[in-house]
Amino acid sequence: MEYFLQQLINGIALGSIYGLIAIGYTMVYGIIGMINFAHGDVFMVGAFIALISFLGLMAVGVTFVPLALILVLVVAMLLTSAWGWTIERVAYRPLRSSFRLAPLITAIGMSIALQNFMQVAQGARVKPLQPVITGRFEMFAGDNFAVTLSNIQILIVVTTIVLMAVFWLIIDRTSLGRSLRACEQDRMMAALCGVNVDRTISLTFVMGAALAAVAGLLYLLYYGVIDFFIGFIVGIKAFTAAVLGGIGSLPGAMLGGLIIGLIETFWSAYFTIEYKDVAAFSMLALVLIFFPSGLLGRPEVEKV
């Protein structure tokens, strides 16, 4: 039982990170109907920016950890947003009216380019960071197993909840959110009603990239090690999460992220760690067979 609880905590922390990335996928899919394959690598870039800015702050003498983390968060969100904006501008906007596979190919190309750019710019070796946030609570001890909740796990879950709340407010209450939802429903009609569609789509990418940057920072703090290749597998799992939850649905992305995180953690804990990805992907296939549009997605109505 204690072991189960411990894995539940670990799974939720991991799932929160997947959820944050999955939101970027699901928003972009919702608004322009493409798989932004480079999003996982935007997350990787965000993690690198967080690492470098953190080391930079330490080097210039900002050693008070909470202040440093807030500064790192701001820097990482800003700079990663710039990446998200640029990728959309360079690789996707020229192909907006093209057929569906075209932006997917540029997205894959962008993903390859980003990975290898980072490999060239920062080297292929893994980048370790000594633990920044230490400390843990012992919640309760069983017979021979103590359930602990580390501070970093609390930070991850709290950050995710706060960001989700902020994000939900933006989508639900602001004019930006309204234009975003309008574009999602019908881009042509939204444009006719005076919504600046290009700007809205750019902002979608910016917001997705900012959330990916947060996920990158949390990943860096949680695992303490990153490399140029983390974006691929984490990105695929986050996309799996988005599809699982019903692509285009924001609560679905979060739910899917949690489910994928939990499956992965429990599978590693109770079965074999080698096949944890197989478990996550098989789950995806199973869910899609029974719920072809995901758990919380709206079924697509095909009109002729």
């Binding site: 899919y29 798989i35 690198f48 920016i49 470098i52 080391l55 800003l78 700079l79 710039a82 990446w83 904006w85 640029t86 360079v90 690789a91 020229p94 192909l95 057929f99 596979l101 075209a102 190919i105 540029t106 190309g109 962008m110 993903s111 390859i112 380019a113 980003l114 990975q115 290898n116 750019f117 490999q119 060239v120 710019a121 920062q122 080297g123 070796r125 370790p128 960071l129 000594q130 691929f232 695929i236 996309f239 799996t240 599809v243 692509i247 074999t272 080698e274 096949y275 990805d277 197989v278 992907f281 098989s282 995806l284 296939a285 899609l288 067979i289 072809p292 549009s293 095909e302 002729v304």
Partner: protein, 463 residues
């Protein structure tokens, strides 16, 4: 009438625009390129690289300025390339026979190229790097075959498959395991590998039948990853990460290409030993296999099943309402594509004589898919050209010694290959969204004068 005086480009807005671009470039690169993380004694340390950052930002600034001043409001155009026409009119002018002729010429060249090189080298004493050229051609032809195989699934049936490499892996491992365990020959294993891969195609096909578009893409991607992970971890059967080595090469009607042995090719024909004979034989095997793929595809397009695939690509609902069985149509497309993937896989294993899970990562699927899409989906010639451009160009980056003169001797071009590859995928796609050969012969036309379909009409369905 006087020619219209061209308005002078306005310098100030151009400068402003370039400055904005440079500012964005600075934001992008200031940390990830301007600072390098280095392993230090106490963890990572930072090493600023202001010069590099300034150079990159400068390139962006002047590049954008030049584009503003000289490129975007230019009043001249490139003359249209003969076989890459853009407009429907060009496409109509070009008879379908032309593409056919180009194809024949290319096939003819491919058929004589190694023999020609051999004669030049052996008889006339030319010093071509023939072994290298043939090896490169084998690589390109493998991708041509894979591209044509995937083209059946993506180009004809309109099913987006991101896990094609799984079938390639199934074919490769089938041959490798059978050959190293039971000592079966390449020619015995080849059909088995194809059939097994096709079987896996059907296995994958069943759960995804109900899925559409991008859901299908992600499930096929997941399937490819599952196969790779299983191969990586099932050590008893596949050797795990160590892979399988000592896979035999295909024999030439029972003759081996080894240096010594009872029954070797060079002894039988009384020739001095040369590694080139084995390569030439492999070259012809893959050439014939690729051409068989092409011929089968072209024939299938004229059969009811091929017509059904293309109809499915254009409109699935219409197909259903006309009483077509979409289940068998989709499954047969998956199985046929997988069959050729399996063939190519076992050829790959035979040629490399060593395989490991490293060779079957997602990046392979992405490369094959990009060849199909860049080639203009559904165009056989386009796929071949795209394979030559992507794989050949990619290899050419190995030999960019001249770049070292520019960037100094510390510059290692091989590091930048994948970077250029990714950027080239983006650039080609933005430049020619419809692919390199953007027209395609219609399979069926109502009247004979209809000509070829223009790029505007070649749209892929929601499949």
């Amino acid at each position: 009438m006087e020619p219209a005086v061209r308005e002078k480009p306005r310098l100030l807005p151009a400068l402003w625009d370039a400055a904005i671009a440079a500012g964005i470039a600075f934001l992008l690169f200031c940390l990830v390129l301007g600072v390098r993380t280095v392993d230090g004694v106490y963890g990572l340390t930072l090493q600023p690289r202001p010069v590099l950052l300034a150079v990159v930002v400068g390139i962006v600034f002047f590049g954008r300025l030049a584009l503003n001043l000289f490129w975007w409001d230019r009043d001249w155009r490139f003359p249209p390339l003969p076989f890459f026409s853009r407009t429907a009119k060009d496409a109509k002018d070009r008879a379908p026979r032309d593409i056919y002729r180009v194809g024949l010429v290319l096939i003819g060249f491919a058929a004589v190229f190694p023999l020609l090189g051999l004669v030049l080298n052996k008889v006339f004493g030319a010093n071509l790097p023939l072994l290298y050229l043939i090896d490169l051609s084998i690589l390109v032809l493998t991708y041509v075959m894979l591209g044509w195989g995937l083209n059946i699934v993506v180009g004809l049936a309109g099913l987006l498959d991101l896990g094609y490499v799984a079938f390639y892996a199934v074919g490769a491992y089938t041959f490798a395991i059978l050959a190293t365990t039971f000592g079966w020959s390449f020619w015995m294993c080849l059909p088995l590998a194809g059939i097994l891969a096709a079987f896996w195609g059907i296995v994958l096909g069943f759960p995804v039948l109900r899925l559409r578009g991008d859901y299908l893409a992600i499930v096929t991607l997941a399937f490819g990853e599952i196969i790779r992970i299983v191969i990586q971890n099932w050590t008893e059967l596949t050797g795990g990460p160590n892979g399988i080595s000592n896979i035999p090469e295909p024999s030439f009607f029972g003759l081996e290409f080894a240096f010594r042995g009872d029954n070797t090719f060079h002894q039988f024909f009384g020739l001095p030993y040369d590694a080139i004979y084995g390569s030439i034989w492999l070259y012809y095997i893959i050439l014939v296999m690729a051409l068989i793929t092409n011929a089968v595809t072209l024939r299938l397009r004229r059969l009811p099943i091929g017509r059904a695939w293309e109809a499915l690509r254009e409109d699935e609902i219409a197909c259903r309402s006309l009483g077509m069985n979409t289940t068998t149509t989709k499954l047969s497309a998956f199985a046929t594509g997988a069959l050729f993937g399996g063939f190519a896989g076992s050829f790959f294993a035979a040629r490399q004589s060593f395989i490991s899970p490293e060779s079957f990562t997602f990046i392979e699927s992405a490369i094959i898919l990009s060849i199909v899409v860049l080639g203009g989906m559904g165009s056989q010639l386009g796929v071949a050209i795209a394979a030559v451009v992507m794989i050949g160009g990619f290899e050419a980056l190995r030999h960019t010694d001249s770049l070292q003169l520019v960037f100094g001797t510390g510059f290692d071009p091989t590091l930048y290959r994948m970077l250029f590859f990714g950027l080239a995928m983006v650039a080609i796609m933005v430049w020619r969204p419809r692919g390199l050969v953007s027209t395609r012969q219609p399979t069926v036309t109502l009247n004979k004068d209809a000509g070829s379909i223009s790029k505007d009409l070649v749209s892929e369905g929601s499949g």
